[in-house]
Amino acid sequence: MSDLSITAPVDEKDAPVGAKPARTGLSPWKRGWRIIRSDLSALVAASILLVIVAGSLAAPLYADYVSGTDPFRSNLSGKIKVDGKRVKIMQASTEGLGLGVTPIGPTWQAQYLLGADAQGRDVAARLLYGGRNSLLIAGAATLICLVLAALVGICAGFFGGITDMVLSRILDILWAFPVYLLAISLSIVLISQGITIGPFHITSGSLLLPIGIIGIIYVPYIARPIRGRVLTLKNSEFVLAAKGLGIPRWRILFHDILPNVTTTLIVYIPLMMALNIVTESALSFLSIGVQAPDASWGTIIQDGQTLLYTRPIVALAPGLSIVLTVLALNVLGDSVRDALDPRTKLR
């Protein structure tokens, strides 16, 4: 056989399969982003979120220019004009024994659009401010949770041995501790005294506390899958290959393991956000989250609880906001997962 190849392999320089020139160097991130961008339900969810976030950001504007009330000051003896008549915001009962005082209900006008709460504050304005806190806490807690979980998961998975043993056992313990109970125990300690870390003292009313608490409690739930992922990655062929090439461990960690874990982490972001919003509201509902007079959706629901039978809208409105936000986050989370990492499941 003289010329043995149909075409000489070394000359063979064909284009990558299916790659159109325009897509050169499209990173997996960008690819994921493209997929999300073409997903209708994700777009709808993202727009809903955008509206909610924008509304929350505009809270001071609403309070100053539209409702014209301070949503953090009690307004127990105030009056407003409704349909031309001046009425008290807190209306004392006049019938029978004259027991009880009821705040004004939805007025469907700029002031007290959704009525007042038991302190005579404008519920609509508080709702927007509450959204700020709920979103801020959920977002920051998600960040903390993911960073901690990544740290723990990566340490346990990558270094193995005694580190893994110790970390895994700690996770085991936290795992067997129902999250809400853990959150409540931490809250009670921290809310009553704040916490001092080194030179910094976080006062007990600070938003940092619920952020920290919510950030911590879900760590085991994320750290475990991360650890699993790191273990798989550690035994993956490309890590072995890197090892075989004499690439130092820390480099492998940062260049090979971390970027791959990051996808998993990103997939968790919307889902964790959703979970954290619910958790935050639950803690605030149990009044161990955001401290009065600051509002979050949870605290407004709690305020509304004492008015449930007379002014249900006070509890209804923040509840619906939560449902809508969490729903949108979950939808978004689904498509992020589909786009980036179809395997990840948040239980």
Partner: protein, 322 residues
């Protein structure tokens, strides 16, 4: 087998020790928690407080106190509450357990049936409007904070529509024992069951649908279809049966923590004095003995359900049977 059991046992002891130590430390780190002052009561003389401190051993080193407390919790079982003096905590936990069990058990039945129904129907109707609709419903279930949903259920069933035929049967909040009043038990728990289950129906329905759709890509489903089996049979006997394995794990974990007290929001909202509410109250009151008892119970349950799940696993997944 014996080895595996022993292993479980050691694990359980370890986890329970870890949790109790954690709780213990958290407690003593909390200001306003001085048990002696709280036991002594309002306007107590300093001498009384000191006497109680000595009497109850609060002046001893923490490890000793921990040891005594554990002994009184597990061995003599006469540990009493710090807040309600003289109240033995063990019987408290034991009497709260049936309430939580009733709540969680009924909800579990609902959510397993509901989750499977939703998952199977959505997977069978994959891509259709029904599928989409069910998945949105499931997501709404997942998105509703359970306490809020509970409040709304209360609002609707106890107040707004209580006078209508729809909810006139709904009894007042609170628990009725199964043995003495089975029908009342059922009626009072129906709405809490549904409330608690809504979240899980959502989760399970979605997860199951995803698993079923995934299973449908598997070779063995193609084999089953190539055998000439009907679609229902393929779905139920082959796809569902295999997808049930992760389902059971999830169920075990959820059931474990719920029975262990994670249903506290539902219990609080519906006025059920179960473990969750007991723990919650104990935490609020910083009633250390009660916290210890409930948390021990919770972790015990979580570990036990994990063990049970592992055993059930062996039953339903021949692969782990070896």
């Amino acid at each position: 087998m014996a080895f595996a059991m022993l292993q479980r046992l050691v694990q359980m002891v370890f986890v329970m020790f870890g949790i109790s130590a954690l709780v213990f430390l958290i407690f003593f780190a909390t200001p306003g928690a001085d048990p002696a002052a709280r036991i002594a009561g309002r306007n107590a003389a300093q001498e009384t407080v000191e006497a109680i401190r000595k009497d109850f051993g609060f002046d001893r080193p923490l490890p000793v106190q921990y040891g005594i407390m554990m002994k009184r919790l597990f061995v003599t079982q006469d540990l009493t509450s710090f807040v309600n003096r003289g109240l033995k905590v063990v019987p408290q936990v034991l009497s709260a357990a049936p309430i939580t069990l009733s709540l969680v058990f009924g909800a579990a039945v609902l959510w397993v049936v509901g989750g499977i129904t939703v998952g199977v129907i959505a997977a069978m109707m994959r891509g259709t409007v029904i599928d989409k609709g069910l998945m949105i419903l499931a997501l709404i279930g997942v998105s509703m904070p359970v306490f809020w949903f509970g409040e709304m259920m209360n609002l609707v069933s106890q107040s707004r529509f209580h006078d209508t035929w729809l909810f006139s049967w709904v009894p007042g909040l609170g628990y009725k024992p199964l043995l003495s009043d089975p029908w009342g038990w059922f009626k009072t728990l129906l709405i809490p069951w549904f409330t608690l289950a809504a979240l899980y129906i959502g989760i399970y329905g979605r997860v199951l649908r995803a698993n079923l759709v995934e299973a449908y890509q598997e070779d063995f489903i193609r084999t089953a279809r190539a055998k000439g089996l009907g679609p229902m049979r393929v779905m139920l006997r082959h796809a569902l049966r295999t997808s049930l394995i992760p389902f059971v794990t999830m169920f075990g974990l959820d059931f474990g923590v719920l029975v262990g007290g994670a249903a506290l929001l539902t219990e609080v909202v519906f006025g059920l004095n179960g473990i969750g509410r007991l723990t919650y109250q104990a935490l609020l009151n910083l009633d250390l003995p009660m916290i210890l008892a409930t948390v021990m119970y919770a972790s015990f349950f979580v570990v036990v359900t994990n063990a049970v799940v592992d055993m059930v696993y062996v039953l339903i997944d021949p692969r782990v049977r070896g």
